[in-house]
């Protein structure tokens, strides 16, 4: 079985949130801080922080976060301002958008990748202006 290193990270200072494996949420989750999901979420997720969809989790929702790590099942689009990582064992159906996207070997993925980065100048059509 694959280990998800980041899924075990949990500070109990009240800032971090964790949806345990026996929990199910239908609705919208939003706010500041990191969020780890081990259970089931249907709805919408928007957090300013790192989002971890751990192994065994099932998420049917569009996802917005700074950083997203997926090791469970996700059906929905991902919009991250930072890195998106699809880890081994993940099953993802949806579009991924992030500053950088990594898909590990062993991950199942179907969707579109939209990665924001600057093209090197020689590839920018038309060359330099001004």
């Amino acid at each position: 079985m694959a280990q998800t290193r980041s899924a075990t990270r949990l500070n109990s200072d009240g800032r971090d949130a964790r949806i345990g494996s026996g929990a199910r949420i239908r609705g919208r989750i939003q706010g500041d801080g990191d969020l780890t999901i081990e259970g089931t979420v249907e709805g919408e997720i928007a957090v300013r922080g790192a989002l971890v969809i751990a192994e065994g989790a099932s998420v049917t929702s569009d996802v917005e976060a700074q950083e997203v790590t997926i090791a469970g099942a996700l059906e929905g689009n991902v919009n991250a301002s930072g890195q998106v990582r699809v880890a081994v064992g993940a099953r993802v159906h949806g579009d991924l958008r992030g500053k950088s996207v990594a898909i590990d070997e062993g991950a199942e993925y179907a969707g579109r990748l939209d990665c924001e980065f600057d093209l090197p100048p020689e590839l920018e059509g038309g060359g330099r202006r001004r």
Binding site: G14, A17, R18, G20, I25, G27, I29, Q30
Partner: protein
Amino acid sequence: MASTVIGAGITIDGEITADEDVVVHGTIRGKLTAKDAVTIEQGAVVEADVTGGAMVVAGAVTGNITSSDRVDLQSGAKVVGNVKASRITIADGAQFKGNVDMDV
């Protein structure tokens, strides 16, 4: 350690069902159903009916509380709603408006 923690910065609009402990530091609007203990920490805002096992409330709850075990309203708690449980404590400094049903 609790299995589900709703952090202080997190807001959930919707329905939460859990087979395990739930600790709330943040905001919940909707409905919260747990099979086990529910802890609503100081600073938490819960606008929802809450059902669960043993319950400790130190934050604000607007909604009905139903427990299969006991409910402890701690100092600083603010509860507007009905409480149904076989055992209830209301600490000095807890604010409470509603009915108590102790299943007698």
